[in-house]
Symmetry: C2
Subunit: 222 residues, 2 copies
DNA sequence: GAAACCAACTCCTCAGACAAGCTGAGAACT
DNA sequence: AGTTCTCAGCTTGTCTGAGGAGTTGGTTTC
């Protein structure tokens, strides 16, 4: 049998499996390290590393002198993982939800500094849309969109967007390889229109324009 | 309660700090175990546990015979943690974004089964709104809102909502302790109106009603 | 030039020793 | 009796030395 994973990783998986199966309840203590090592047939330091790995994932917590305790039944949703596998259409719909609302909020909360950022990022985006490599263009586009989110002054929305960014970036790069047409034309104008609506404090207009733009993107990929 | 950090945890934090500061770039190799141990003034097994912890958090990856590599600049956002600390107003704005869009999508995608779920959950909610304890009422309310999200048939939005649920639940319970007035009156009607708009395939109406309802909730807490 | 070889690196695992901290039972005290 | 003190025996924390196993890059060999 080929061992693809180190013993410590296998031990961590085994512990996670047993926790999931209800062998140890929430808040309960696991058997001691020496005991576990004997049970799984590995050395004590191997068990320690397995426990440490699950501690990093916030499933276990070890207290010196007391023991190792279960603090969560399952690893917290790894959004990176979820997003990596998610259908790009679903991600775009999530993004649409967040960004539309962010545009609406931004129209009432934007500061002069936000407007300055809009100008800079839009200028960058225009330059990049002309003859830069794809990844520059994508970064410039994302920078503007992030500026819109930031202007909503809601840290939760910003973090949500940042979580989505890697997935969106990959999807955009894939898209650009297939379809170079839509890169130049009305796109820059659509972005400027969103910024204008936010600048003019028009929540509904900003939201509508953001929705329209992202709906267009969604209809390209689906 | 004071909490001492074991050396291995401190070492993990130090490594994370150095990675964040750009000392080692993405994909780059860290110095060897013996080297790092000497640098931080700890034993080799301590370094190994620190690395294992960061591996559990998907920041590092160690390959036997090759070395330890950086695979992410920062630990994936622990959303449980983020939400626990987040301002409830921000969470409600996030929920508003997701749920409004979900209502819109649901109006075009809802199945007969979804409509049945609406009827059941609305009936439960009505019953619970009359004389059940607070936590029943909250669960019944959340069940209906989850049904709306589910009817959008977008797994990402559903997972997003589920991530928010614990935080929303706590906030609702806190709210009900302060203000028992708004529990009965127009609330049930507002929920039924959302369900009706989805049933009648009216995306804009469904979205508007969801927005209105959640805006009302937000204005109560802020 | 290409394949085989090898040495020097890396992480992986184990065992043993001791330190540090917690817990509960019993002794000592009030 | 009730409270506090003490300590033995458990726990995890840390270090070290010894090999095992895999990777890498240079050297030798053909």
């Amino acid at each position: 049998m080929i061992r693809r994973h180190p013993l410590a990783e296998q031990a961590a998986e085994e512990l996670l499996r047993r926790i999931g199966s209800g062998e140890w309840q929430l808040g309960q203590k696991l058997p001691g390290e020496t005991n576990l090592a004997a049970q799984l047939g590995v050395g004590r330091s191997t068990i320690r590393e397995a426990v440490r790995e699950l501690a990093g994932r916030r499933v276990l917590e070890s207290r010196q002198g007391s023991g190792v305790f279960v603090i969560a039944y399952q690893a917290a949703e790894d959004w990176d993982q979820v997003l990596r596998k998610a259908d790009i259409t679903e991600v775009l719909e999530g993004r649409l939800a967040i960004e539309t609302e962010a545009a609406r909020l931004a129209a009432t909360r934007r500061t002069p500094a936000d407007l300055r950022t809009f100008r800079y990022t839009l200028a960058d985006r225009k330059k990049a849309s002309e003859k830069s490599p794809d990844d520059w263009y994508v970064e410039a586009d994302l920078a503007f969109h992030r500026a819109v989110i930031t202007a909503a002054h809601n840290a939760l929305l910003t973090e949500l967007f940042d979580t989505f960014v890697p997935r969106i970036r990959r999807a955009m790069l894939d898209m650009l390889k297939l379809d170079h047409v839509h890169r130049h034309r009305h796109d820059q104008a659509a972005h400027e229109a969103i910024a204008d609506a936010i600048r003019d404090r028009e929540p509904e207009l900003a939201a509508a324009r953001a929705r329209e733009h992202l709906s267009a993107v969604r209809s390209i990929v689906s």
